[in-house]
């Protein structure tokens, strides 16, 4: 049994975000982090490894520096990494990205008891689409928004969260699960893990590695294979500044209550 975890290196949008004058993101000036939800997927995989001794393979698609992120996850306890990286893969939307990652997983080989795990969504695009689309292209069943995962032989039972409750769903392996932050608390890298992270293998899958995969076709990868295009990107204007009610005393409170009364709130 192996668990394949799909992860993404993303700009840290919680800090200062730099936007270039043309309305695109100035990625070069921003710090990159491991996408937070993906760490929950990593933790879920490592828990299974603790319980069953299964292999944990961490996969990402991105530019060569993304290898550093893979090493961090190897230091957390994953066994090996795969970096999918080629100029031909650039410019991909979610459809084309999932096509390429699915091809990478297919190239690696999926056994009957394997599980693919992803984070719910990435904080840069917030689409939550790549996980389900990988599942579709590998013809795997999926469960998204996993709040609890139990593995029993060749099936998993997942608590699938909804806005107003949850479902318990049973699914046969091989399958794909997307994980939410409530699922677990990701572990830190261990000292031993850091020492061994650079001894563990990281394979690079470039265009040549994957070009004979049935899913890899110039019409379904990269910019050319992406069904969606960006028409324009822009920053919203600041709303005009309002009124600051001076002083933080009884008079100000009365003034604000009066405004609420005029608005028929009270």
């Amino acid at each position: 049994m192996k668990v394949i975890v799909c992860v993404k290196q993303v700009p840290d949008t919680s800090g200062k975000v730099a936007v270039k004058p043309d309305g695109t993101l100035d990625r070069a000036s921003m710090l990159t982090i491991i996408n937070p939800d993906d760490l929950n997927a990593v933790e879920a995989a490592l828990k299974l490894k603790d319980e069953t001794g299964c292999e944990v393979v961490v996969v990402t698609m991105g530019p060569p520096p993304a290898e550093k992120m893979l090493r961090e996850i190897l230091a957390m306890g994953a066994d090996r990494g795969v970096l999918i990286s080629a100029r031909e893969f650039g410019g991909s939307d979610t459809f084309a990205t999932s096509q390429i990652i699915a091809a990478g997983i297919h190239h690696m080989g999926l056994n009957d008891d394997d599980i693919v795990m992803c984070g719910r969504q990435a904080i840069d695009g917030d689409t939550a689409q790549v996980g389900p689309q990988i599942a579709e292209k590998l013809n795997l069943p999926q469960i998204t928004y996993a709040g609890d995962i139990k593995v029993e032989g060749n099936s998993v039972i997942v608590k699938r969260m909804l806005e107003d409750g949850f479902m318990n769903i049973k699914m046969k392996t091989p399958c794909l699960i997307t994980c939410i932050k409530e699922l677990n608390e990701p572990r830190y890298m261990s000292t031993f893990g850091i020492f061994t992270a650079y001894e563990k293998p990281v394979d690079v899958y470039d265009y040549n590695t994957l070009k004979d995969e049935p899913l890899i076709d110039p019409n379904t990868i990269g910019l050319q294979g992406s069904p969606t295009n960006i028409l324009v990107s822009f920053t919203p204007p600041l709303k005009g500044a309002g009124v600051i009610l001076e002083g933080a005393d009884k008079k100000t409170a009365d003034e604000l209550a009066g405004i609420l009364e005029k608005k028929h709130v009270i």
């Binding site: 949008t13 695109t24 389900p132 689309q133 479902m167 204007p237 009124v243 600051i244 002083g247």
Partner: protein
């Protein structure tokens, strides 16, 4: 169906809205999407259909159509009683291949965001996630950009076409799907120029529900397409469906919201109680910023922002919330924003209609007293 080709754009017509029901209850976002879908269908000059799947749900057709649909595409089967990725994807893909709508909208709910990507991948078409604005008409879209963007007039003018596969493409018949990206720092408008249907998931609470029209409801055409679905089509089994034990707070439907943030850190219990008290006084509900939820001060159903709910209440009161962009993305369209914060340079003051620079633990009790006094005088 075997000759289905998503690149044959001229073969596709009409707008469809997937109407989500859970245990036979049509989800509110479905009505919002029908209302929005009506406008898009009018701009395209085509019909609007609701797509409803379930078991014994035909009595819901009129409830849905009254918000503006010309008809309902109804697929009923005991196997469709509960939502499953397997069953719903198969049936939806089959009916889309047969009837070829040019636009399909889903609510960006935990179900819509499971189903939409799966359908789009199987149909070989594009899907734009979590949209907050939709247009077809170029002039209407450009008017939106004049209001909602800081783009120069010539760049707005330039949005009537796009470079697609190295050629200039006229976007006047494409669905223009606008959504926040990078935590709300940037907005992007996405098109799906070479394939149909153009598909979008739309954030709940963003589109406004139209008034219910009984005549429209009575006139709706019910279409029951043939489809095949057997137990063999399922690789998953739903063992149980449970409702949350605790009643969840309804932020999206609230007229008044009082939210708390980092500013309550020095006395979390007291701060939450003050926020709740003020909300109760106004007949509103309590919300929170990401800090308040991530720190465990409030449960996740209270979260307002990019990763929480998008709200546009009549009044939004932000207590001790600095106004990180990811929070503003979820509340900046509120009709009136009131901010209380000790830091005069908090970004929240940039979008607030009224601001008080001060300690919420002092200001809010005084405000509650003033409100009580006004009520007592009535």
């Amino acid at each position: 169906m075997d000759n289905y080709n998503s690149a044959d754009i001229s073969a596709f017509k009409d707008v469809w809205v997937f109407c989500e029901q859970r245990q036979g209850v049509v989800q509110p976002t479905s009505f919002e999407l029908i209302s929005e879908g009506r406008r898009l269908a009018d701009e395209l000059g085509c019909k609007l259909y609701a797509l409803l799947l379930g078991d014994n749900v035909s009595d819901k057709c009129k409830d849905i159509a009254g918000y503006g649909a010309d008809g309902v595409v109804l697929c009923e089967s005991p196997l469709l009683k509960n939502y499953t990725t397997d069953g719903y994807t198969k049936v939806i893909v089959d009916v889309i291949k047969e009837r070829k709508p040019e636009v399909v909208l889903f609510g960006a709910t935990y179900i819509g965001r499971d189903l939409g990507p799966r359908c789009a991948a199987r149909l070989h078409t594009g899907l734009c996630a979590d949209c907050t604005h939709l247009d077809v008409s170029v002039p209407v879209y450009q008017d939106f950009l004049k209001e909602a963007s800081t783009l120069a007039p010539e760049r707005i003018e330039g949005t009537s076409s796009a470079m697609v596969m190295g050629e200039k493409h006229d976007v006047s018949h494409d669905l223009k799907m606008t959504r926040p990206a990078f935590g709300g720092h940037l907005m992007a408008t996405i098109i799906c120029p070479r394939f149909r249907p153009a598909m979008a998931t739309v954030r709940p609470g963003v589109m406004r529900k139209a008034p219910f029209d009984q005549a429209k409801a009575d006139a709706a055409e019910i279409i029951r397409p043939e489809f095949s679905l057997t137990e063999a089509d399922f690789e998953t089994e739903v063992l149980a469906v449970e409702k949350a034990a605790k009643k969840l707070v309804d932020l999206i439907g609230a007229d008044y919201i009082v939210s708390v943030g980092r500013g309550i850190a020095k006395d979390v219990e007291g701060g939450v109680a003050l926020g709740q008290q003020l909300a109760d006084e106004l007949g509103g509900v309590l919300g929170g910023s990401r800090v308040a939820i991530d720190s465990g001060w409030l449960s996740a159903d209270h979260q307002v922002g990019q990763t929480g709910k998008t709200v546009h209440p009549k009044v939004y009161i932000a207590l001790g919330i600095s106004g990180a962009i990811q929070h503003k993305a979820g509340m900046q369209d509120s009709e009136c924003i009131i901010a209380v914060n000790t830091n005069p340079s908090a970004p929240m003051f940039e979008i607030a209609d009224y601001g008080i620079v001060g300690d919420l633990f002092k200001v809010v009790p005084m405000l509650i007293d003033s409100i009580k006094a006004i009520k007592a005088a009535k």
